[in-house]
């Protein structure tokens, strides 16, 4: 265990470390998490440090602190973004708190604090503990470059998702029960939602290992999802909204739910070039 973990607080606001610390890696994560381990394994998860806190003489409520080493800041941002839905609380690079669950990311670390029992009794301690943990983390990395390429006008910053699994895509924008874009560990995808001119267009960008893979993925998508699109990759769907898909190099970009063909094309044209 590194020095960083040894410097984490053993008590906060009357809550004390309870039981031995634990660590789990990719092989053993299932021993710890019953419910969400698979999501972490779709990212570059390395290991997790676990510490529990209880008040003296009481086993409940309990605060469970998890510090996940996700390998890179991109991946830490990704796991945070995959389930983000609450308001930020100003901890780390980005954070949220609600329903007895506090989540934040900073550098290559994703941190989760969850309370078992009455969340109201633990809220103040959780916030202070989270701030203490964040202060111990290095501050390196800004998150994925793909996110920096998103058009900014009308972008809903709380609805940017970065992932390597079709399940995350479907959770935020159901596309198909099959993986029709070939999204996997060797691809990086960004889903972003916009508010523009009274419409809520959705932009999906998927980066493949090669231009050939991207071409194949787009062709497969068009064949299954909108065979009427033709060479322009454009179609008006049954709900009256427009979908437009393109490939450029190793990147497939698709706009869903646009109010017009022009809106779809404009959003795609505003994607910043790589390396900016």
């Amino acid at each position: 265990m590194s020095g960083f973990y040894r410097s984490l607080p053993e008590q906060v606001q009357g809550w004390r470390k309870a039981g031995p610390d634990e660590t789990y890696d990719r092989r053993t994560l299932f021993d710890y998490i019953d419910g969400g381990a698979e999501l972490y394994l779709t990212y570059d998860f390395r290991n997790v440090f676990v510490r529990r806190y209880q008040r003296e003489g009481s086993t409940e409520p309990e605060i469970v602190l998890d510090v996940y080493d996700m390998g890179t800041a991109d991946e830490a941002f990704g796991i945070f973004s995959a389930e983000c839905e609450d308001e930020p609380v100003g901890i780390g690079r980005d954070s949220e708190y609600g329903g007895g669950l506090l989540r934040f990311w900073k550098s290559r670390y994703f941190v989760s604090l969850v309370v078992i029992g009455d969340a109201r009794e633990a809220e103040a301690a959780m916030l202070e503990l989270a701030r203490s943990v964040a202060a111990e983390l290095p501050d390196e990395g800004d998150g994925p470059r793909l996110a920096a390429r998103l058009p900014r006008a009308g972008l809903n910053a709380r609805e940017i998702r970065y992932f390597h699994s079709p399940n995350v895509l479907n959770n935020h924008y159901f596309l198909s029960d099959d993986n029709i874009l070939g999204i996997g560990r060797d691809t990086s995808a960004i889903l972003a939602k916009y508010d523009r001119d009274g419409a809520r267009p959705v932009l999906l960008m998927v980066q493949y290992p090669s231009p050939a893979r991207a071409e194949t993925a787009l062709a497969g998508f068009l064949k299954i999802y909108m065979p009427e699109a033709g060479a322009a990759g454009l179609a008006k769907l049954e709900n009256g909204r427009w979908t437009m898909a393109r490939v450029r190099g190793d990147l497939v970009t698709i706009v869903f739910e646009a109010s017009s063909a022009e809106q779809a094309g404009k959003l795609l044209s505003e994607i910043a070039p790589a390396g900016r």
Partner: protein, 293 residues
């Protein structure tokens, strides 16, 4: 339908709620073939003022459901449909700390198993230790009981999933979003032994977040139990209620994080039970307030 289901199928109205968890009860002609019975019992007085469960109300709910399921007027006779005095009885519970099987429900089951004539030394309760538990290794009858909750990788966790601790490596069954969960019901320690399935809908989790897939805001007091002999049917009804709650809460057809296809496949691919709601006789007992189904 051939090919993958896409968002456009919903736009065209060719999918409806089927993909979300089965066809609605009634309305459509039920296909011919075998049917099964599931009892939903609800009591809005099951929670005490301090937030604990009322053991007497839980016992009453269980008794009422089992009597209705079996058609017996006497609870002892009803339980004898599932356990006999010479049985070794394992109560397969669930200890997930965020939302475990309520102790009051376990105790209600144990009380009736003893009344059915099974001596205490031949009754056991376990979850993650079943493989090393001599009582479960020698069990001749299993009663399966756990709470309903959403689950990141399998969509929902219900009675079907509860048998996963009978496998040496549960992650072996995680492929394709746990599609073939029914296969561990064919293991020698399980096959043919599960006599009764009880899905706690007292306070199910209808949406999860975070590494432990838990958020207290999405636990709601439904105050119910689902009881049946067919684990597929019990889960199918539980799933329909979860889906209805999500529609009611979120105001749209929000997909589960993973499609819970293991329930439908337990029927179609493995023949373990019935997932088609049109072939499930759902008997509703007790409160109908916000029943959702």
């Amino acid at each position: 339908m051939s090919g993958p289901v896409t968002r456009r199928d919903f736009m065209k109205g060719t999918i409806g709620v089927a993909i979300a968890g089965g066809t609605a009860f009634g309305g459509l002609q039920a296909p011919s073939g075998k049917t099964t019975r599931v009892v939903l019992v609800r009591n809005d007085r099951v929670w005490l003022a301090g937030g604990a469960l009322d053991p007497a109300v839980v016992q009453g709910m269980l008794d009422e459901a089992v009597m209705k399921l079996t058609g017996e007027g006497d609870v002892r006779a009803a339980f004898r449909h599932f356990v006999k005095s010479d049985d070794v009885v394992g109560v397969k519970s669930n200890v997930w700390r965020m939302l475990p099987t309520p102790r009051e429900l376990e105790n209600a089951i144990l009380a009736r198993v003893r009344q059915a004539g099974v001596p205490a030394e031949r009754i056991g309760v376990d979850d993650r230790g079943v493989l090393g538990n001599p009582l479960f290794r020698n069990a001749t009858a299993i009663i399966n009981v756990r709470p309903m909750r959403t689950h990141y990788w399998s969509g929902v966790g219900g009675c079907l999933k509860n048998m996963i601790t009978f496998t040496p490596r549960p992650s072996d069954y995680h492929g394709d979003s746990c599609a073939d969960m029914a296969s561990f019901w064919k293991l020698p320690l399980v096959a043919g032994k599960v006599k009764l399935n009880i899905l706690s809908m007292l306070n199910p989790l209808f949406h999860g977040r975070g590494p432990h897939h838990f958020d207290q805001r999405y636990v709601w007091r439904y105050n119910g139990l689902l009881v049946g002999t067919d684990p597929v049917a019990v889960d199918a009804v539980g799933l329909a209620i979860i889906q209805a709650k999500r529609r009611s809460f979120f105001g749209d057809e929000r997909a589960l994080q993973t499609p819970p296809k293991h329930i439908e496949l337990a029927d179609r691919r493995h023949g373990l039970g019935i997932a088609d709601l049109r072939r499930i006789e759902l008997i509703r007992l007790g409160s109908s307030t916000d029943i959702l189904i």
